[in-house]
Amino acid sequence: MKLSADARNRLAAEYVVGTQTHRVRARIAWLARGDVALRAAIATWNAMLTPLAAAAPEVTPPARVWRAIEARIAGRVFGSRPAVSVWERLGLWRFAAGLSAACAVLLAVYIQQMPAPAPAMSSVAVLSDDKQQPALVIMWPPQTKPQNRHVMVRALTQTAPPEGKSYELWMLPTPTSKPVSLGVIGRDARQVIELTAAASIMIPGIWGMAITVEPAGGSPTGQPTGPVIYSGPCVKIG
């Protein structure tokens, strides 16, 4: 069914204001699934009218509601994913207690040496190898403007992936959640990696970062396939 712009707007408005019968609502919801313009019109009306919902007074729901939600989402979580066991085996949690003294000193020196950074950095992750030797520092500015959507990568030692392989940088929202790729890093000692809009939203709350060895060009699956070679927690500095 092809809708005229007027008809689409009218249906979307009535759908959002909510006056239609069950049958009409179901029909519009079904149409919207295959009609981008109708979905956009519904979103526009939602954005316009939703402030009205503030007229309904806030009411704290009884505790049983959250218990029911928790019971229903349990078991659908990361628990048994193989990618998780990799992080867990690393014992990344040990870092959570704080950076080692050496790391902290190195970081302080490093930050002082930085040429007047603009904009100021808000967080840093020091990535170390399995012997706790720091190898890379990743820093990023507060994600308040589109031009701040990047992380800066500084190599502290000379390191390069084996022939035919790439290093891929990952962020870990929590110690046990699925890693999110930030992309492949090159061989330069100083690099800037642009963040996607989604990564930019996520990065202020992340727990840690890691680098894995992947096939040239990065993991073909979107999740780590090779060994973790550097990892570390994130620390807010600004």
Partner: protein, 191 residues
């Protein structure tokens, strides 16, 4: 909602998309009172509103990955989920669809219009909306508010306001068009 609050809620949704249960718990802590209020106002029965809230948060958890594509503010996205669930629940075809629920609901609807919107609606978008709402005829304003906030259908509105169905439909349609034109002029189309 300030931009910072919006960004914080969006970050929680992003973590939900990654199956971080603690993010959902935080999201629930921060938004459930508001959303429960929205649902309760529409359902007018605590047990129904509780079911709706539960379903809504399970949905938010399942579809958090789609949030980014929705391109709307987090509260707008979540409120739409809760309102849709509430309305679907309320309007669902029931086996014995007697007039009982309807009568009970009609009796529970506050007879007078909710207080001045400008007082309840904080924030910039909300202020623009409140101003434009004030510019509508009182009948248009009343029927749009009763429909959106209290979940009244065309038929319920007609009964509540003691006006013919066609009249009520026209108020809403014209009211919404005027509202949209006014908001577009104010430069906050919400899109």
């Amino acid at each position: 909602m300030t931009p910072e609050q919006n960004a914080a809620l969006a970050a929680l949704l992003a973590r939900c998309a990654l199956r971080d249960q603690r993010a959902l718990a935080d999201l629930y802590r921060q938004t459930s009172s508001k959303l429960f209020g929205v649902s309760l106002r529409i359902c007018r029965r605590e047990d129904w509103a509780e079911d709706v809230l539960q379903e809504s948060f399970v949905n938010i958890w399942k579809h958090a990955g789609d949030y980014a594509a929705a391109k709307s503010a987090p509260m707008t996205w979540m409120t739409a989920i809760v309102r849709n669930r509430s309305l679907d629940w309320l309007r669902r075809p029931r086996e014995q669809d007697g007039g009982e629920d309807f009568e009970a609901r009609a009796a529970a609807i506050p007879a007078d219009e909710p207080g001045p919107l400008a007082q309840t609606l904080a924030g910039e978008d909300a202020r623009a909306l409140a101003t434009c709402m004030e510019g509508l005829d009182s009948k248009q304003r009343q029927s749009i508010t009763l429909a959106f906030v209290s979940g009244l259908s065309h038929a319920e509105l007609a009964a509540q306001l003691r006006e013919p169905l066609g009249t009520v439909k026209t108020w809403i349609r014209r009211g919404l068009l005027r509202l949209k034109a006014c908001l577009e002029q104010a430069g906050t189309t919400g899109a």
